[in-house]
Symmetry: C2
Subunit: 342 residues, 2 copies
């Protein structure tokens, strides 16, 4: 499997919590854990009103605890990163049932009085994976040894993490020494380590990306989970800090066909793939003059196999570079991996 | 004078502290206070080894206190934003003499044990102006009423704050309703309010810029202090967040003639002025489609008047837009202000 850095030891297996979420785009943590740490996820739990499901069995906290679960993981996010009051009873019930809580939102679990009180009373742990490590430096801009690949996107929540995980797995299966580098809460939950880029103070964000991808063997690849989009009206600064600090040799641009507007920002149309390649290379050259685009990753999860294959072929012709859906595999993925390692 | 927002009441007048600084670029807080709040600065104080001076009289903390000073302001920064151990004795002496401490660095005064202990013992205040306000939202991307001008730069520490202050003063002197919006510690010390952009968590940085420049009368101008540079290997993400969140109608590009490399990053050559205009407009258009560049501000402080005037004229011809050094005034500045308000 993928070589992962393990700085954090989290209580496992998990029960995934879906809140009252009706928008699948906000449940990417739960989907990511199902797909990449499925052997450590016993089931899902949600409030009344939730319509999103991971497909895992629905378990009450009591059932999950009886099956061996050690923690309830908050598997959904919302735009503000807070925990709505309506979720509190479910979280308290999980603690009463014997589960620790693991969260990755901006709001810290221990800052919520009823949760802190219950944790103390019951002897449960409140674990926030979105807390950056101490001692992050200002970026130095110094070039580092080893190879780096960064996934970038036309928007949030469309496959940058999955693409990085899949490419790291493909690299490893070819005998290439590769490390998946997590930059968001789900990736950290999957990898067991990383830096939550979006929680770092802005002045240190590029420095955090440098810290995450240190000097390495010249043949080693860091495969870095991208964040946000250079075109995003709220998060572009995070994306640029990550691009500058990670100094990628190679980028792979991620896109979801059919998405026309920025998630949660209907007035902001999505940039084109070629525009995203061009802007990323133009900005990335500042800290990595040899940056190149190896190809494009399309998230075709909502398409049937034949349509996806046709689109992948059409886009490869139009853009003049390898295009693949890494989760579908096949020769298209082989060509994308060839181009990454070329 | 300039209409300033006053959310913070700081103890004044000040004694300016210069640490052991030998690089004038790191003393911009002290210079800013001398130039824009000079009536509230009684003098300067420094450790042995400092070579930078504001030109204000050197006063010991005891002399300053006897003259009515209420606070020692740390008027220098360094790349890491920390307080070197060598400064502590001077800071303790100031507190012993009766002064509060005001700081704007990343390291918080109250996190330094000897300072906290002395403050408690002596009844002094430790005031950190670099603490962002609570409740900063994620950026909405929504367009707001009123006009906005943002100063941007080819680098840090070359005149973005001074340009914004000077333009706000010129706007006001023409009867235009204008507010200087501070985004860094010195600007906040001068203005008495603002948001320290570089201390905001990265995900909320664009939201902070939106919060700083809210809906206003259609004829009102926010004149916003820029931060960093879109080409800076450590701080470009901050600059992009500020650009996207402030949605400026107008930018003014700031540059220091003769500076060839990024301050503190000798391997990073400075971008050209035209490159900076082009990139800022290209990226700024994402949240403000009507963004335009009104002109260029040159920091000619190290040049004689005749050379500065010649350069300003040459650059205006080369770039095809108004160019001025706002601190020299004259017809060039009038033309730049005309273009801003056009």
């Amino acid at each position: 499997m993928i070589r992962l850095k393990s700085e954090v030891v989290l209580p496992q297996p998990y029960l995934l919590f879906l809140g009252d979420t009706t928008e699948p785009g906000y449940a990417k943590t739960a989907f990511g854990l199902r797909d990449w740490a499925g052997d450590r996820c016993l089931g899902e739990y949600a409030c009344d009103g939730a319509s999103v499901t991971t497909g895992l069995p629905f378990l009450t906290p009591e059932e999950a605890a009886a099956s061996g679960a050690e923690a309830l993981v908050i598997g959904v996010a919302n735009a503000g990163g807070f925990i709505p009051p309506g979720w509190i009873p479910a979280l308290l019930r999980a603690m009463e049932a014997g589960l620790d809580l693991v969260g990755g939102m901006h709001a810290r679990l221990r800052d919520i009085e009823p949760l802190r009180e219950a944790a103390q009373r019951l002897g449960r742990r409140l674990i926030d994976v979105r807390e950056p490590p101490a001692g992050i430096p200002v970026a130095s801009g110094r070039r580092r040894s080893g190879k780096r690949l960064l996934t970038v996107g036309t928007d949030c929540a469309l496959g940058k993490k999955y693409t990085a995980l899949a490419l790291a797995r493909e690299f490893t299966s070819r005998g290439v020494d590769a490390t998946f580098r997590a930059t968001g809460q789900t990736g950290i939950l999957i990898a067991g380590g990383g830096i939550p880029m979006d929680a770092v103070v802005a002045d240190f964000a590029a420095g955090a990306a440098e810290m995450l991808t240190p000097d390495a063997d010249p043949a080693h690849w860091d495969v870095i989970e991208g964040q946000g989009s250079l075109f995003h009206p709220a998060y572009a600064g995070v994306s640029l800090s990550l691009l500058h600090g990670s100094q990628p040799d190679v980028i792979v641009v991620c896109h979801e066909p059919g998405r026309d507007a920025t998630l949660g920002y209907p007035d902001y149309s999505l940039p084109g793939i070629q525009d995203t390649i061009d802007l990323t290379l133009a900005l990335g050259r500042r800290t990595q003059p040899n940056i190149r685009c190896a190809g494009v990753s399309l998230n075709t999860a909502r398409m049937d196999a034949a349509s996806a294959e046709r689109l992948i072929e059409t886009e490869a012709g139009r853009l003049g570079c390898p295009v693949a859906d890494p989760l579908r595999g096949g020769p298209a993925l082989e060509r994308l991996v060839d181009a990454c390692l070329a």
